[in-house]
């Protein structure tokens, strides 16, 4: 019988092969994807996120946990199609135009995914048009933008303005992050929230959606 506590540990400790093996075993035994995700995967990602925030885990640990989680999720995704498996919310995420840095952004995306959100990851160098097209197409609840550079973070304001001009501002929350970004900047450009790490991003996203 599949020991799903092993899945929790495998994701937490970043063991890809083990995570995949336990997930496959659980699937073979007919355990529901929702149970695997909610009871074990989400909890493991929440724990690694909390450790990261507390300075007890670091970027390499988070990358490994995300990789193990993704390996497991790849097996579960086909089983969830066409079933009314509700996600917490839909997130469109990308690094803004002119900026190619994606490690931090991908960690945030993985954390969202691992914690039960549906994630549309647009990659890097994303224009306001691409953000808006994706938000419309997927009926996104949240747009998440990342920038590592002082020279590119200003583009976030353009995206906020474009979202307003499209009349989408009431339907979508906007979150921003990245090394040079801070709370004051988020407020100044009219974003709904700034968070400094992947764990906080998930928590704040949940709060934003609960309040809306």
């Amino acid at each position: 019988m599949a020991n799903l506590q092993d899945l929790y540990n495998a994701i937490l400790n970043g063991k890809l092969e083990q995570a995949v093996a336990v997930t496959q075993e659980a699937i073979n035994e007919g355990i529901s994807p929702t149970e695997i995700i909610n009871q074990y995967m989400v909890k493991a990602m929440e724990e690694i996120g909390a450790r990261f925030e507390a300075g007890k885990a670091f970027v390499p640990n988070l990358l490994l946990a995300a990789r193990a989680m993704k390996g497991s999720l790849e097996l579960l995704k086909p089983l969830m199609r066409d079933k009314n498996t509700a996600t917490i919310g839909k997130v469109v995420i990308g690094t803004v135009k002119g900026d190619l840095h994606d490690i931090g952004k991908n960690l945030v995306a993985s954390m969202f995914e691992g914690c039960g959100f549906e994630v549309i990851n647009l990659g890097v160098d994303v224009s306001s048009t691409k953000f808006i097209e994706a938000a419309k197409e997927h009926h996104a609840d949240i747009i998440c933008m990342s920038a590592l550079l002082t020279t590119t973070m200003m583009y976030m304001e353009k995206v906020v303005q474009a979202v307003e001009a499209e009349g989408l501002r009431d339907q979508v929350k906007i979150m921003v992050g990245g090394a040079p970004v801070n709370n004051a900047f988020a407020q100044k450009i009219g974003a709904d929230a700034y968070t400094s790490n992947a764990n906080q991003a998930v928590q704040v996203a949940k709060q934003l959606l609960a309040a809306s």
Binding site: G14, F52, G55, F58, V59, P60, N61, L63, L64, R67, K97, G98, L100, I103, N106, D125, L149, T150, T151, A179, P180, S196, N197
Partner: protein
């Protein structure tokens, strides 16, 4: 009246009483973007000429003798013959950047954008292979293109990641001898970037100078390797350090004390509010190799050792001191817990702080002149007490910084140093 070299050595030896020495352009992490160099030249009424790009990766412009004089610079660089892309720097040609600035850049680099507005760079300038770097439209510097091949754990060898490191030959040494002589003749202190000594620096991991890089070449894969492939990383660092010591022995015999400071490693251990590894991992994986090279340098040369690491590195500083580094740069004062008062108090007698003169993420880039002035005054007072401080901004001055703020910073420095 002291000269540049005395000011620098007083700072390096933690002696007060002389004006704070100033660095702009002596390394690839204490430089100025070419766009700002052009604006500064204009402000100071210097000859209107294309700016020479000294580091195409970050598009840093040359701070030449005229500009050094205006900015009160005390240190000069000693750069290598080849740049990050393996392209020879001895021959340059005039190019226009995507933002319309005339520059002199290494001949192997063609700045003409493609139909999408992107500029591609090729390893060794060889356009018959895939590009190794790109300056996307709207960008002000260049980014690596990761060419990570599928990893076969059974075949993976540390030698795959050692390909870009080699023993120096006669011709390399002749270059360093000539270049060091020229740098030393300026009478300023000389900072050498001999290369080959950075352990696991993610700027080098993608190997933009190699045509067909093997091994671990993706930055994320590298970070994971520090945890899941420790034997691979140990073997790589071990062999890289062996080579580095043999090269440093030849370099010391060739240039001797014409060089004052060696910039050995730019591996970033800090993020904005955390670290890339625990102190335990740092001590286990990096410290033994750092210490071996640093001990060799201290035993055999007069060089001081410069370590660059961005970010919130406070928890790792004791281990960096144990590893034998003399100098810490860029002292990112706006990162978590990087309070200059605390740094100076706790480590000021063991480490020279090189940088930390002004925050570049907010104050220099977006602050008012008054904020710039106030921070420069404050940081010089705190970090400059009893020597142990070389003034520089926190990392390079970027393309978007208002030149008025740079000028205010220089004027404030001149006032302090009077």
């Amino acid at each position: 009246m002291t000269n540049s070299k005395e000011r620098v050595w007083n700072a390096l030896n933690h002696r007060g009483g002389t004006p704070v020495p100033v660095d702009f352009g002596a390394t690839t992490v204490t430089g100025i973007h070419c766009r700002i160099v052009e604006q500064l030249r204009k402000y100071y009424g210097l000859a209107d000429k294309p700016v020479r790009i000294v580091d195409p990766f970050q598009m840093l412009g040359e701070v030449d003798e005229e500009l050094q004089e205006r900015m009160g610079v005390d240190l000069v660089p000693l750069f290598g013959r080849k740049n990050m892309f393996g392209i020879d720097e001895s021959e340059v040609h005039e190019q226009v950047t995507p933002w319309g600035q005339k520059v002199l850049i290494a001949k192997g680099i063609d700045m003409t954008p493609d139909a999408e507005g992107d500029v591609y760079i090729y390893p060794e300038g060889d356009r018959s292979v895939s590009p190794s770097a790109v300056m996307p439209e709207g960008y002000y510097f260049i980014n690596a293109i990761e060419r990570q091949q599928p990893i076969d754990e059974a075949l993976l060898s540390y030698q795959d990641n050692l390909e870009e490191y080699a023993l120096l030959n006669e011709s390399d040494l002749a270059y360093w001898k000539q270049a060091a002589g020229k740098a030393a003749a300026t009478g300023k202190a000389v900072v050498a970037g001999f290369g080959g000594t950075a352990l696991g620096d993610v700027a080098f991991i993608p190997a933009m100078g190699l045509k067909h890089p093997k091994g671990i070449r993706s930055v994320a894969e590298w970070y994971m390797s520090t945890l899941i492939r420790p034997d691979f990383v140990h073997a790589l660092f071990e062999h890289q350090t062996d080579l580095a010591i043999r090269n440093y022995e030849m370099l010391w015999n060739t240039v001797g004390d014409q060089v004052d400071v060696v910039f050995t490693c730019g591996t970033d251990f800090g993020t904005q509010d955390s670290q890339f590894c625990s102190e335990e991992v740092f001590r286990e994986l990096w410290l033994p190799y750092y210490k071996r090279l640093n001990d060799w340098i201290h035993t055999h040369t007069t060089w001081k050792i410069f370590k660059h690491s961005c970010g919130a590195v406070l928890p790792l500083i004791p281990a960096m001191i144990d590893a034998g580094f003399d100098i810490l740069n860029p002292v990112q004062i706006n990162a978590k817990d990087m309070d200059s008062k605390v740094l100076k108090e706790q480590f000021g007698d063991q480490l020279v702080f090189w940088g930390g003169g002004i925050d570049t993420q907010r104050v220099l880039a977006f602050g008012t002149k008054e904020e710039v002035r106030r921070q420069v005054m404050e940081q010089c007072e705190i970090l400059g007490k009893d020597g142990g401080f070389v003034f520089n901004t926190v990392h390079n001055i970027q393309a978007n910084v208002p030149v008025e703020n740079v000028i205010t910073m220089i004027e404030t420095l001149n006032e302090i140093r009077r």
